[in-house]
């Protein structure tokens, strides 16, 4: 209250207008609902870095608030609380928040909602996601080069299209280097459970994998790789501090530019509902520095990343052979976005059956 009065007074003095205009000067309130803890050093951590970037970039114009560790089945209340608390824009950063976000959005037409990784939009609900599979293609190539056993272990969360597209892109990248490359898959059925993830990593290593890839959020699998002298890739965030000898690189989610842009749109009154899907070209998906690998591998990976960034290379370029032997995609053309966003099949060579 004090702050508001002071800024109002300053405003009135500077421009000589009535203090009533203070409303127009009121800060835009941007709010986040996180599924995990901001200290997970993975998914939620990076969203929170994005929030901090908004604070830093937009300074006095915004105020930010977040709620962490919100259970998906119990999230409607947390979202509604933020809407009632005067948030102008609310980012809900887990797939499971989709229905609750839509429900609350229907009650608060003036508040803007942004739901990460979902597929339902509304007048005041936008979805946003990132082309993580672009990064997966790059690490697939690295894995194929670095693996001595020709087998990677892959820890996955839920069989949703985003995750399946990640496995496929990784596999296509690996096969572009070594056509016989194998990947073994363990479903952890969680986004974040260090104990379970560590166990999965141990199982995969004992089955002959020597590179670990994860689509879960904790640093545990990489830490297991570090202990066992194996290698792996960071997920969502640069995890080099947790595995200085084991991390080859990491796919880093860099939400800051998107968040800053969208909050700015709210401030300027230009916010519109959309479905956003940015990738390496926009800088939302980034690759951490290449470490613990020979120079020629790093060079190859760097060139691949650059080709994806400039649009010369698309991970899903046809023809692609599915696990069941059928072929999709026209030669030399990328699959349509819709096929990737709804992907529910494996490419050839994945040693797993999709849960049906």
């Amino acid at each position: 209250m004090k702050k508001l009065m002071m800024s109002a007074a300053a405003f009135a003095m500077a421009l000589g207008v009535a203090a009533a205009s203070a409303d127009a000067e009121a800060k835009t309130k941007a709010c986040w609902v996180y599924v995990g803890s901001i200290g997970d050093f993975g998914w939620t951590y990076e969203h929170n870095q994005g929030r901090l970037a908004v604070e830093k970039e937009l300074g006095d114009k915004v105020e930010t608030v977040y709620v962490e560790n919100v259970a998906e089945a119990d999230s409607e209340r947390a979202i509604e609380r933020l809407a009632r608390d005067g948030c102008n824009i609310i980012f809900t950063t887990s797939f499971g928040f989709m229905e609750p976000t839509l429900k609350v959005a229907a009650k608060f037409p003036d508040v803007k909602f942004e739901h990460a990784t979902g597929y339902k939009t509304a007048e005041n609900v936008t979805t946003y996601n990132a082309k993580f599979h672009e990064g997966r293609y790059v690490i697939g190539q690295i894995a194929a080069k670095m693996s001595k056993t020709g087998t990677a272990g892959y820890i996955v969360s839920f069989p949703i299209p985003e995750v399946i597209a990640g496995i496929n892109a990784f596999m296509l990248g690996a096969q572009s280097v070594n056509p016989d490359f194998k990947v073994k898959i363990v479903w952890a059925n969680t986004w974040y459970d260090p104990g379970k993830e560590a166990d999965a990593a141990k199982v995969l290593f004992s089955q002959g994998a020597d590179i670990i890839v994860q689509h879960t959020d904790s640093t545990a699998p990489l830490q297991v790789a570090e202990e066992q002298g194996k290698q792996g890739f960071g997920q969502a965030s640069d995890m080099i501090k947790f595995a200085p000898k084991a991390q080859l690189t990491a796919i880093v989610d860099h939400w800051a530019p998107y968040y800053v842009r969208r909050v700015n749109d709210v401030i300027n009154g230009t916010w519109k509902s959309q479905s956003s899907w940015d990738g390496m070209a926009e800088g939302t998906v980034q690759i951490a520095p290449f470490t613990n690998m020979p120079d020629d591998v790093a060079k190859m990976a760097g060139e691949t990343a650059e080709a994806i960034k400039t649009g010369k290379l698309h991970p899903f370029t046809g023809p692609i052979t599915k696990q069941d032997g059928t072929v999709v995609g026209e030669a030399g053309k990328p699959l349509p976005d819709g096929d990737i966003l709804g992907m529910n099949w494996y490419v050839k060579g994945v040693d797993d059956k999709l849960p049906q």
């Binding site: 409607e76 209340r77 069989p159 949703i160 059925n189």
Partner: protein, 359 residues
């Protein structure tokens, strides 16, 4: 020298009434100190935590929504624990209740009449009872420890739920996302504002159980079996029958809570589904001193600590860890005060202890 807890010969009625308030006062003081250490104004923080949720209609409604399943499950558990039957697996019975209720919209999405609501609720109750009957049967037939079996069945229930929602029950239009179709129309519970009908069930259940426990023979039987099993047997009460009764009762109520939760709050099945009501209800049952009416207040208090914890996160920007620490402190003081009503602490010198051991 050592500390000994010694049972008090007589319990002070005045202290029994005062103790929750003493505990609350101690919590407020300890909480204030923690908030002050975090550089927050302790008075403001405590206000946000305890009072603010009670000042807004919306938050009051949310409080009741959150408390309803805790009270519903907690009152059943209170009866169980009074009779010395240890159902620790209410969470599993809750999940199965939600699962069976959700089966109807999955297989008969077009079934839209008042019947469907009744059928879904009934299936929830039956599911919870059936899941509760398993540990009861194992206990009666094989003398298997019900604490272990009921707890282990929680995980079985969660995996069953997970498998169904991820596989056969998945929404065909849902891009493989692990959730079922949305319930609609009569498949949802009627609501007053945010409060769904589950709150009414909770109120009825605890009042009925209070009457049963204190005014009816069944209640007397359960209390006798709980406090003096041998005497109960002489009176012709069967502890097997009591075990089965308690598990069916608490299981059925937990199942009803599960059905009400998916029909009143989320409106679909979605995995992972672990709202933890079944475990928190154990605390609620004890906090309510195993008295179904006490459970109502205990449920509201715990719900308040959740809602308050959330508003503290938003308004004060503290992490949810602090909110949880605060909840822990509250429970610690309440249970400590209760213990000190029943027991007194005596300090024994080494010699006295030795004599005692020898004697």
């Amino acid at each position: 020298m050592r500390l000994v807890l010694e049972k008090r010969a007589e319990q002070s009625v005045r202290m029994a009434i005062l103790s929750p308030f003493i505990a609350l006062a101690l919590t407020v003081i300890a909480g204030g100190i923690i908030f002050a250490l975090r550089g927050l104004n302790p008075f403001e923080a405590l206000y946000v935590y305890f009072i603010e949720p009670l000042t807004q209609d919306w938050a009051r409604e949310q409080l009741i929504v959150k408390a309803a399943p805790l009270i519903l499950i907690g009152s059943g558990l209170a009866v169980c624990y009074t009779a010395n039957v240890w159902n620790i697996g209410a969470e599993g019975q809750f999940v199965i209740g939600a699962l069976l209720a959700g089966m109807i919209p999955v297989y008969f999405p077009a079934w839209q009449s008042p019947d469907v609501m009744v059928v879904m609720l009934a299936l929830g109750i039956i599911g919870g009872m059936a899941w509760g009957a398993i540990p009861a049967f194992l206990k009666i037939r094989f003398s298997a420890n019900e604490i272990l079996t009921s707890l282990m069945l929680v995980y079985v229930a969660q995996y069953l739920f997970d498998w169904l929602v991820r596989g056969p029950w998945r929404d065909p239009q849902g891009f493989n996302f692990p959730k079922t179709v949305n319930f609609a129309g009569w498949q949802l519970l009627p609501k007053w504002g945010e409060i769904h009908m589950g709150a009414l069930f909770a109120l009825i259940a605890s009042i009925v159980l209070a009457v049963v426990m204190w005014r009816m023979l069944k209640g007397f039987e359960l209390r006798v079996l709980g406090s003096a099993p041998r005497a109960g047997r002489f009176a012709g009460f069967s502890s097997e029958r009591a075990t089965l009764f308690c598990f069916l009762l608490s299981g059925g109520l937990a199942g009803l809570a599960g059905a009400s939760d998916v029909m009143g709050v989320s409106g679909q099945l979605q995995t992972p589904y672990a709202p933890n009501y079944g475990f928190v209800a154990i605390i609620v049952a004890f906090l309510g001193r195993l008295n179904p009416i006490g459970v109502i207040f205990a449920g509201l208090l715990l719900a308040l600590s959740y809602i308050g914890g959330e508003s503290a996160q938003v308004s004060l920007g503290i992490s949810d860890k602090i909110a949880k620490v605060f909840q822990g402190i509250l429970l610690f003081f309440i249970l400590a005060c209760d213990t000190l009503i029943l027991y007194r602490i005596r300090i024994e010198s080494g010699r006295a202890a030795q004599t005692r051991a020898a004697g």
